[in-house]
């Protein structure tokens, strides 16, 4: 208790390894285990063949039983270490299993068939990071189709979001007109009305527009994000009006001012919004779940969720597909980590 308190109450002004430093490291290491452990376990498991996945207790690393091709047999046979009756240990390949006995042969001399009790043999296994689950999963799950859908939705929705939101933010920050504040307040007030609250009528509107079972129904509706308008407007307010006025004197149209002066200057805010938009769309679940009911239009998230329902026992495929689904986000995080974390820390949005 005392160490916990010291740890919580210490400041940065000390040198050397104090007791609270040790407590910090212990806490962070345990935390790392809890936070990263499940992910490591997922990745390791995704390489295991089905026979390994159903084993209890599970092994940490993915193993595969060694096989050997024996003359006279078409399929490769599984290798075992067999303790013979006289106590010697031989490597034998299993031909077939009948009840509690296995019929086995010596790969070097396949003529003789030995009858071995099941508890006499030990499978020979080796570490194996095979992509078998992945290749079979991609086929069974139709990964590339869902990937294309998701990629299309993410890219188009992000471009549309950036364009529409930045235009609105420009209009709301750089012009004086009647109703400006009213529009801004209405947009901001819907920050607190999430989709989950208007599920039923949103579905009605989308089917009336004819966009149910259409990727447009996933792309367009959420493009007018209040968060994006707010973020960009606050940023554009800091751009001095004199810049715009001098461009007007030079004869630039308002449109040219928007995309040649204001847009480039709002670059950092646009980058933050772009990253968030990609994250939102890639991970979006509830909206596509409602709009899309045709299997071939599913996004990765919806597809993955229905895949786990269909193939409840086929963990080998489900795990591999889960890894593939989280891979793009992981790569993006590796490269854009600084932008993502500072973006969240400064805007407080997600």
């Amino acid at each position: 208790m005392r160490t916990v308190y010291n740890f919580l109450t210490q400041t940065r002004n000390h040198y050397g390894l104090t007791r609270s430093d040790i407590a910090t490291y212990i806490y962070l290491s345990l935390g790392t285990l809890v936070m990263a452990g499940p992910l490591v376990w997922l990745v390791l498991s995704s390489f295991k063949p089905q026979s390994q996945l159903v084993r209890f207790p599970p092994t940490l690393l993915p193993y595969q039983q060694q096989t050997v091709t024996v003359a006279g047999y078409e399929e490769p046979l599984e290798l075992f270490n067999v303790t013979m009756d006289d106590g010697t240990v031989h490597q034998l390949a299993q031909v077939s299993r009948v009840g509690l006995e296995a019929r086995m042969v010596d790969p070097a001399a396949p003529e003789t068939i030995y009858k071995v009790k099941l508890d006499q043999r030990q499978p020979i296994e080796s570490l194996n990071f095979g992509f078998d689950n992945y290749t079979r999963g991609v086929e069974a799950f139709d990964f590339w189709k869902y990937f294309r859908n998701t990629l299309g939705v993410t890219v188009f929705a992000t471009i549309l979001t950036l364009l529409v939101n930045s235009m609105a933010a420009f209009g709301l920050s750089k012009y004086q007109f009647k109703g400006r504040n009213l529009i801004f307040i209405i947009i901001i007030s819907t920050l607190m009305i999430p989709l989950s609250v208007i599920l039923i009528p949103v579905f009605l509107v989308i089917s009336e527009v004819g966009w149910s079972n259409n990727l447009l129904g996933v792309i367009v509706p959420a493009a007018a994000t209040p968060t994006g308008v707010f973020l960009l407007r606050q940023y554009m307010l800091t751009i001095p009006d004199e810049l715009l006025d001098s461009a007007r004197i030079d004869g630039a149209s308002e449109w040219r001012i928007y995309w040649q002066i204001v847009l480039p200057l709002a670059g950092p805010a646009l980058a933050v919004l772009a990253i968030f938009s990609v994250m939102w769309r890639w991970n979006d679940f509830l909206w596509p779940l409602i709009v899309l009911s045709r299997n071939d239009l599913f996004t990765l998230q919806v597809g993955l969720n229905s895949f786990q329902g269909e193939f409840n026992t086929q963990w080998d495929l489900v795990l591999a597909m889960t890894v593939l689904t989280l891979l793009p986000v992981t790569i993006a995080f590796a490269f854009l980590q600084r932008y993502i974390t500072t973006g969240i820390a400064t805007t407080g949005m997600k």
């Binding site: 936070m35 007109f177 149209s253 995309w259 986000v329 992981t330």
Partner: protein, 343 residues
């Protein structure tokens, strides 16, 4: 004089931007100019604000404002018909159906017992999830704010799950929690009995909370960390000169100065927790029974999946949920203003 900054800043920007990007942008944006210039000549500079605001406003009006109004219409009309013109007006009967209860503490006595179960489930969930997030995020943020090695590494580790989708998070944990999963293997290795974590009501409730905290705490940790780093170091120096103990420094400097950030974390996590859906939906599907059915899932089930789609009931439930969220957000704004005035 005034024209100097234009060229300066735009050329400065152009240098950083790759040429092909500029070309593509020019290529897309230039045609708009051809339509734009005549319009601007006709209506004048100031009116062009509408041109910029309109696209956003149209999408917004059709897909957010209109549904919000329709939601009220649904809430006050009945029958299982989906299209508004086929739905008779029923007054407040949807609300009375939802709110009729002999004893609000016992969902069984309510007309819509699942709704009240969902309400209570959500209440318990919100209490523990938000509590857990605030406490754990604070401890983690303080730990990450120490002078330690590999700070960036630890921060990334704690933050990474935030980026994962609810479905992926649910699958990761389902795999760990299943009957033959690694957690049961550890329990058996330690001499215990296997626990059917997701098939037992109490355990399922606990794990939905734990998994949510696991997936979201990094986000709030980051906000708190930013708050901690914004505290001016002079305060700590002064406290050190005065000989203040660690404990007093934390209590009288760190905590009060971190309060505004703590409030942000509290309210943001509250608003999100009240809407819990996708995580639990993918992890437990609301079960076993109705143990992890929360309000949004009640709305989803009632409106979309049950054999008799009762859109009116679902809409009425969402109006109630919206009211709760509104109160929470207004509280946030209120608290935010007060702390601003104080500082």
């Amino acid at each position: 004089m005034a024209s100097v900054p234009v060229t300066k800043s735009s050329t400065a920007y152009r240098r950083r931007r790759p040429d092909w990007l500029t070309d593509v942008l020019d290529w897309i944006m230039h045609p708009v100019e051809l339509i734009f210039v005549p319009i601007q000549r006709r209506f004048g500079t100031q009116k062009m604000a509408w041109f910029f605001v309109l696209p956003n406003l149209i999408i917004f009006a059709i897909f957010i404002m209109l549904p919000m109004l329709l939601n009220f219409y649904y809430a006050f009309t009945g029958s299982t018909n989906f299209f508004p013109q086929d739905r008779p007006f029923v007054g407040t009967s949807n609300f009375t159906t939802l709110l009729t209860c002999e004893n609000f503490l016992q969902p069984v006595t309510c007309e819509q017992d699942i709704f009240w179960r969902a309400v209570w489930n959500t209440g318990v969930y919100v209490f523990f999830e938000v509590g857990g997030i605030v406490v754990i995020s604070l401890i983690t943020a303080v730990a990450l704010n120490q002078r330690i090695k590999a700070r960036g590494f630890f921060r990334s580790i704690f933050f990474y799950p935030v980026l994962l989708s609810p479905v992926v998070v649910a699958l990761i944990w389902k795999w760990i929690l299943q009957r033959d999963g690694v957690l049961n293997a550890i329990i058996v290795a330690l001499g215990g009995e296997r626990v059917p974590f997701l098939l037992n009501s109490e355990w399922a409730r606990i794990w939905v909370i734990v998994v949510s905290i696991w997936a979201q705490m990094g986000f709030y940790t980051l906000i708190l960390l930013a708050g901690l780093q914004a505290i001016p170091p002079e305060y700590y120096e002064a406290a050190q000169i005065d000989g203040a103990s660690h404990r007093n420094t934390f209590r009288y400097i760190t905590l009060p100065l971190l309060m505004p950030t703590m409030l942000v974390v509290l309210v943001l996590s509250l608003i999100r927790a009240v809407q819990v859906f996708d995580q639990s939906f993918a992890l437990t599907g609301g079960g076993p029974g109705t143990a992890t059915t929360y309000i949004v899932q009640y709305i989803y089930n009632t409106g979309f999946t049950s054999s008799s789609r009762q859109a009116g009931l679902a809409a009425a439930a969402s109006v109630i949920l919206a009211a709760v969220l509104m109160i929470l957000t207004l509280t946030q704004l209120r608290l935010g203003r007060r702390t601003e005035e104080n500082s």
